[in-house]
């Protein structure tokens, strides 16, 4: 038996023994996710145990080196672990912007001290991070950001405001783009810094969305003192990190893909009924089938882009394409669900509609084409970077 085969067998046995039963159920609501942090909330004892056990093996970040809290697995072993987790239906033990976004930056741009300070608590789910990028006047034009970090000797003095900071009200630390040179052209005066959200002068205010949820905050900085050792990379070179992270974010957002599950036509049949096994509303049936065609094709395109990547043939800016189309598809999907659901889908409260779940998800989907770079920005990227069309 090969080493990898043995690894697979041992992993399977360990997962079967250690993954609590309720952690093998699909994630349905946002509350089913575990985000860790200084004040973690666990929905169940199983969720707490699952995080603890995975942390102990370094398997929240299986391929990170062990000195940073990782599992030290090889790429092949990592793939096997993920496959075995999928097989058993194991949930991710830890969702984390620290793992998804900050860690790649620290590995690429951080210094050894920063890695040793921040990566292990991220791996263990002890520190929850948020991302300070957008500002009220800097949306698609992110580089025009105005939050200022003034040089104050051994520290920066940060003043300004961020917006769309995911879960800032629940985060322990923030990684943040700030302007450190106001005289330079806009892309050349930006730096990337880290600081504790409990630092005096930091405050947050959740933003209520049209869906009635508040996953984002406004975040305010009023004379926040940030030690200079918390600067990542070179001063005024933060835009390079930002771009790296944006491309990375597009991939993260997009790799989520579409929710698996039953074809839309079968869901629609619940409200609309069928005749001879055919959905009763012919007009909607056609729209749904056309959607399913595009959704299946898109899933295949995702699969193909992964295979191209492995083969070293990945097309550039593929993440823009994926992000753009997945937003369009998800919005079409929710529009169709609303049409299929009729008046029942329009309820906003009460048990019958599970507190207006369908309507809220529909409204939530409208953000897909805005957050993490609007669809317009993605189309610009495709036109310029893939199609090589000239600037205006």
């Amino acid at each position: 038996m090969s080493d990898l085969e043995r690894f697979r067998r041992e992993t399977r046995a360990w997962l079967e023994a250690n993954c609590p039963p309720d952690m093998r159920q699909p994630v349905v609501a946002d509350e089913d996710r575990c985000w860790g942090g200084r004040r973690p909330t666990f929905k169940s004892e199983g969720q707490r145990l699952w995080l603890e056990r995975m942390v102990a093996r370094g398997w929240t970040v299986p391929e990170w080196p062990q000195q940073y809290g990782g599992g030290g697995l090889s790429r092949e072993e990592g793939r096997i672990l993920r496959a075995e987790m999928r097989r058993l239906g194991c949930r991710s033990p830890l969702d984390s912007f620290g793992i998804w976004m900050l860690a790649p930056v620290l590995f690429k741009y951080g210094n050894e001290e920063q890695r040793r300070e921040h990566l292990p608590p991220i791996a263990r789910g002890e520190i929850r991070w948020c991302q300070g990028y957008s500002e009220p006047n800097s949306g698609s034009d992110l580089a025009s950001l105005a939050t200022r970090a003034a040089d104050n000797g051994d520290h920066f003095l940060v003043n300004g405001q961020k917006i769309w900071t995911s879960y800032a009200d629940k985060a322990d630390w923030i990684f943040c783009l700030v302007r450190t040179d106001e005289a330079a052209p806009k892309h050349l005066g930006i730096s990337f810094i880290l600081f504790d959200m409990t630092t005096p002068g930091v405050s947050t205010k959740p933003i209520l969305l049209i869906s009635g949820k508040s996953p984002f905050c406004e975040t305010f900085f009023d004379n926040v003192r940030v030690p200079k050792r918390n600067l990542v990379g070179d001063i005024n070179k933060g835009w390079e990190i930002a771009k790296y992270l944006l491309a990375h974010e597009r991939e993260t957002v997009s790799s989520v893909g579409l929710p698996a599950g039953r074809p839309l036509g079968q869901i629609a049949a619940e409200t609309l009924g069928s005749q001879d096994g055919v959905l009763a509303d012919a007009c909607l049936r056609a729209d749904i089938a056309r959607f399913e065609i595009d959704a299946i094709a898109f899933q295949l395109a995702l699969e193909r882009s992964g295979d191209l990547l492995k083969a070293g043939q990945a097309s550039p800016a593929v993440s823009s394409m994926v992000k753009f189309y997945s937003a369009e598809l998800n919005q079409r999907r929710h529009e169709l669900l609303m049409v299929a659901g009729g008046s029942a889908a329009l309820e906003w409260e009460g048990e019958r509609s599970r507190s207006g779940e369908r309507a809220r998800n529909w409204l939530r989907s409208k953000g897909n084409s805005i957050e993490g770079g609007t669809n317009e920005v993605q189309l610009n990227v495709i036109a310029k970077r893939i199609l090589d069309l000239p600037g205006a």
């Binding site: 969305l209 009635g212 669809n375």
Partner: protein, 379 residues
């Protein structure tokens, strides 16, 4: 007839516009919603509607109404659409009043219509029984019982059903669900024995209800229209409601677009107004064209209801379908072009998206009316 407003109609529009912008702007809806008001609209505003002559817009002057037509009703609906004003105007002044007026029972109308015009009676049509509008699918049974009937079944998505004084209930007195024959309309008191009302809180903070009729007995004179042949009256009331919803959607779409246009001119990114980007300009231009065309379709439907009611069905179907799709386009582009701010509850544009969705669904969405037009055109 020219497809434009007459001078008198323009005056009605100007006065409705000023009145609603003053008394019931979007903030009015927001306040009702945020206070979780149990009525969901302002009874005080409804009395002001009466004073303006809105409640009795279709009611003859002899019965205390304004004696105006569907174009005028549509004008008011368009302003309601612009302001997202919640009120029983659609359910009572238009759909309910139409059923009474076209039923034409003089004694009953002498009793009810003055009250309705005075804002003292809320009346609504209870037609749908499942999530998608399908009046012919009416299954709620009307069994003969003594001198009258006994009604048993459930209705949903009954507009203003949570506060209605009277229901006009579409019931199956003969035939099978799916057939137009065998439908009878009944006027039922909301306080009658066996009526149970459950308010449904909707995404748009407007009001509807589920209503259960559990062996509710009514007299024979509770019938509106003809027994077993209530279909034409039902369709007449629905078509007035559909054209009115089309007008509301047209007004709503224009307002959402107008706000978007202002934002495109004001919001700057990359050192210039985002409205200077050609891709956004073309999208805005498309939305504008769609809304302009819808205006004509809506006005035609309203005019035809006034001039030649029996031939209005096709125009009503066109207007409701067009208004639904073009308002949907307008609110989708509105949210997208507003970016993050458009996703916030604090900003009004999302409320337009929510109301557009409900109005699109009510009394048949664009797919329903496309099917209807196809049948009317014999294919």
């Amino acid at each position: 007839m020219a497809l434009i407003l007459t001078e008198e109609q323009t005056m009605v529009r100007d006065s409705a516009r000023a009145f609603l912008a003053d008394k019931a702007p979007v903030a009015h809806l927001r306040k009702l919603r945020d206070s979780r008001d149990r009525v969901g609209f302002s009874r005080e505003l409804w009395k002001a509607f009466a004073a303006m002559g809105f409640c009795g817009i279709l009611v003859p002057e002899a019965l205390g109404g304004s004696g105006l037509g569907h174009v005028e009703a549509g004008i008011i609906m368009a302003e309601i659409g612009r302001n997202l004003t919640p009120s029983p105007f659609l359910s009572t002044a238009l759909v309910g009043a139409t059923a009474l007026l076209r039923d034409g029972n003089a004694a009953r109308n002498r009793e009810l219509l003055p009250k309705l015009a005075a804002g003292d009676l809320i009346l609504t049509l209870a037609v749908d029984e499942r999530a998608k509008h399908a009046p012919a699918a009416t299954a709620l049974t009307a069994e003969r019982s003594g001198n009258g009937f006994k009604l048993t079944g459930d209705k949903c998505f009954v507009v203003d059903g949570h506060v209605a004084d009277l229901f006009i209930v579409a019931a199956r007195s003969a035939g099978a669900p799916g057939e137009r024959e065998g439908v009878t309309l009944f006027l039922v008191d909301a306080r009658a024995q066996g009526v149970a009302v459950e308010r449904t809180v909707m995404v748009d903070a407007h009001n509807a209800a589920r209503v259960r009729f559990d062996g509710v007995t009514v007299d024979a004179d509770a019938v509106l229209g003809e027994i077993d042949r209530g279909w034409p009256l039902l369709e007449a009331a629905l078509d007035v409601g559909r054209a009115a919803l089309a007008a509301e959607l047209a007004g709503l779409g224009e307002e959402a677009f107008g706000r978007t246009l202002s934002y495109l001119k004001a919001r700057k990114q990359f050192g210039r107004p985002i409205g200077s980007f050609q891709a956004l300009q073309h999208r805005a231009a498309r939305v504008f064209v769609e809304l302009e065309i819808t205006q004509a379709a809506v006005l035609k439907a309203l005019q035809t209801l006034d001039a030649d009611f029996e031939r209005a069905a096709a125009f009503v179907a066109v207007a409701k379908a067009r208004a639904g799709t073009s308002a949907t386009l307008a609110v989708q582009e509105a949210v997208q072009l507003h970016g993050g701010i458009g996703m916030t509850d604090e900003f009004d544009i999302g409320l337009f998206m929510k109301r557009a969705r409900v109005a699109q669904e009510l009394f048949g969405d664009d797919g329903f009316h496309a099917d209807r037009l196809a049948r009317l055109q014999n294919y």
